[in-house]
Symmetry: C2
Subunit: 381 residues, 2 copies
Amino acid sequence: MSYQVALVPGDGIGPEVMVHATEILDAIGDKYDHVFNYVELEAGGKAIDSTGEPLPADTLEAAQQCDALLLAAVGGPKWDTLPGHLRPERALLGLRAGLGVFANLRPAALLPQLRQACPIKDEVLAASNPEGKASFDLLIVRELTGGLYFGKRGRIDEASGGHSPGAAFDTETYSWTEIERVLRAGYDAAKVRRHKLCIVDKANVLESSRYWREVAAVVSKDYPDIETSYLYVDNAAMQLIRAPGQFDVIVTSNLFGDILSDEASVLTGSIGMLPSASLGSPADPLAKNGRPMGMYEPIHGSAPDIADQDIANPLAMILSAAMMLRYSFGLEKEAKDIERAVNKVLDDGLRTKDIVNRSSGGANEKVVGTKEMGAAVRKAL
Amino acid sequence: MSYQVALVPGDGIGPEVMVHATEILDAIGDKYDHVFNYVELEAGGKAIDSTGEPLPADTLEAAQQCDALLLAAVGGPKWDTLPGHLRPERALLGLRAGLGVFANLRPAALLPQLRQACPIKDEVLAASNPEGKASFDLLIVRELTGGLYFGKRGRIDEASGGHSPGAAFDTETYSWTEIERVLRAGYDAAKVRRHKLCIVDKANVLESSRYWREVAAVVSKDYPDIETSYLYVDNAAMQLIRAPGQFDVIVTSNLFGDILSDEASVLTGSIGMLPSASLGSPADPLAKNGRPMGMYEPIHGSAPDIADQDIANPLAMILSAAMMLRYSFGLEKEAKDIERAVNKVLDDGLRTKDIVNRSSGGANEKVVGTKEMGAAVRKAL
Ligand SMILES: CC(C)[C@H](C(=O)O)[C@@H](O)C(=O)O
Ligand SMILES: CC(C)[C@H](C(=O)O)[C@@H](O)C(=O)O
C-alpha cells in the first residue's frame, strides 16, 4: 500500500533527526512492500522566516490531505520576542486544532538499558512496582484540543492598581463530547496494556473536573474489565515521583497533561527517547481508511544549542514514526520491528550523549552521534 | 505581649499534632515573656458533624478577630461523598478568602539529616547545587485567593453528546493588584534569601500568564538586587526533579502553586516536616499591629488512617507555629529558637515513622511516636 506522510522537519535539531525517521520508514517500506510518499511542509520558525506566519494556510491544508503528519520540533530563541500569535508554538496549536487530534498519547517508561539515567533512586521505584523491579511503564493520555488552551481569553478593562485593562482571563471549558472521546481513547489504550486507568483532575475545586467525573461515571461502564481510579492533580504530581509503578494509563485535561507528562518524561531519564502520538477520531472526515488522522512528534524540543553538531538523539523521532505506523496505518508488525531495532542498538550499548550513564561514566557504552545512531537502527532492522 | 491565636485542630491527626504546637508556644511564652491566648474553633469535618457546615460563620468571624490562625488539618473519607460545597476543603478555601491571605509561602528544603529520605539520587541533586552538595532549599510563593480557584464557574446548557447541560467551565482571572501583591511577597522573601526569583507560568498559551509578565516587568524594577527569571510550568515540573538546586524563590498562580509545591514537597522526602504560611497584607483591615494576618498549617493532610495511634509527625505543625511567630508577630528570635530545637532532635537521631531512613534501615536513628517527638522538641528549647 502507499501512504502520504506530511513532514515538518522544523527548526533546530528537527531536520537532522527527521532524516533518520524517513530513512527507517523507507527501509520498512522495502522490507514489507509499502510506499511512503513524503510531503515536506513548513511550519514554526522556518515558516515565520519565509512567510511571516508560523502556520501558513497551505501547510495546514496540505497536512489535512495527508494520511498522517510527522513533526520533528519547532521554535527557538530567534523567534521568542515575537508577539504571541506569531510565535512558533502557534504552529503546534494550529495543527492540533486543524487536524482534530484530540488525544495525545505520551508513553513514559523506564527502559532497563537506561535505568541509571533515571533521577529517582532504585529503591523508590521498586517499592511501587508490582514485581518489585526498579522500573515503571505508564502512558499519559492528554486531552489536546480543548480546555484552557482553546477557551475564551482576553483582558478586562477595569481599573486595578491604577492600570487599565486591569485584569486578564482564560477559560477552561469542556463539553461532554470532548471528555467522552478522550476517555475512550484512554480506555482503548488500557485494554492493550495493564487494564488500569487513572483520571487526574482537581474535582475538589473545579467544576469542569466534576463534570469530567460525571462523564467518566457513564463511560467507564462500557469498560468493565478496566479498573478506573481518580486522583487530584497535586497528589498525582507527588505520586509520579514517589510511586510511579502504580500507574498504567493516566487520562487528564490539556493543561494537567502538559505538566504531568513533562514531569513523567524526566523520570525516564531520557527525554531524547520519548515519542508521542496525537490522534483524531476514525469517524472524523480527515480520517483515512477508517484509521485516525495522527500527528507524531518527539516530546523533546528543537534544542537549537546542539543543532547541526551531530549530537541530537534521533530515537524519539524514529519511535514517533513507529507510533504512526501503529495508529494511523494499522501496521503493528512494522511498528514493532522498529521498536525492536531501537531496543537492539541500546542493548548493544550505543548511546547518544544525552543518555550516557552518568554514574558509571558509560562503561560498556559507546557514545555515538546522531548519524551513527540512526544508521545503527537502520542496520538493526 | 499577649497574642490571640485561633486554633483549628480539625480532623484525623490534626488534634494530636496541634497539642504539641501549643505546648511549644507556651514554653516560648514562658521563656520570652509572651502570653498566647488560644481560641479553639471548629472547621472542616468536625464542623460538618456538629453544624452541617464546613465553615460556620462564627468560626470565620472569630478567626478574623484573632492575630493569627493555626490550622492542623481538615477532611477525611467520612465526608468525601458530600456534595462539593459541603466538603471539608471548603473550610480551607473559605478561610483563605475570609482572612485575605493571598500569599502562600511553602518552603521545601532537603534537611541534611533527612537526605536519605529524598527520592532523588545524590548525584542529580549535587549537579544543580551551587556548592555541589546533594541538597536544595527553595521557597514556593503561591497566589492563594485568586485564579481558577475563585473565578466564575458553572455549567453551560448546550446539548453535547446528547447531554444537557453539555459543558462545564471554570475561569482563571487575575487583576493587576492581585498579581502585584503576591509578586512583592515573593521579592520580599527573596531579599532575605539568595536573591533569585523565578516566575512560573504558561505565557506561551495563557493570556493571564502574559499579564503576569507585564506586571512583573514593572514590579521587578523595584527590586534591582533580585535576579528575576521566567519558566513555563511544564518545564518547571521537570526542572524541580532534574535540577532543584537552581531555585531560590518561585512565585506562581494558585493552581500552578498547588501542583508544584506538592511536587517539591515530595522531593524533601518528608512531607510530615513541612510547614506553610499564608499571609495577607499589613495594610489590610484584618492586620494587627502592622503585621499581616496569617494562617499557618502543615502541608500534610489529616491522614485519618494513622490518627490516634501516636504515629503522626508533629514537626510540620510545630514549624508552622514558628512561622506564625516570625510573620504575624515579628518574633524572629523566638521562631529561630523553635527551628533550632527541631534541628537538634533530628541531629539526636529522633525520627517519627515517616522520616526513618529507608536505605540504612535507620541505623543511628531512634523511632519515636508523636508524643515523644513533641516532648523532645520542648525539652530541646
Ligand atoms: C509549546 C507548547 C504550546 C506546548 C504545549 O503546552 O502544549 C508544549 O509544551 C507541548 O507540550 O507540546
Ligand atoms: C484541599 C485543596 C482544596 C487544597 C488546595 O488545592 O488548595 C490543598 O490541595 C492545598 O494545597 O492546600
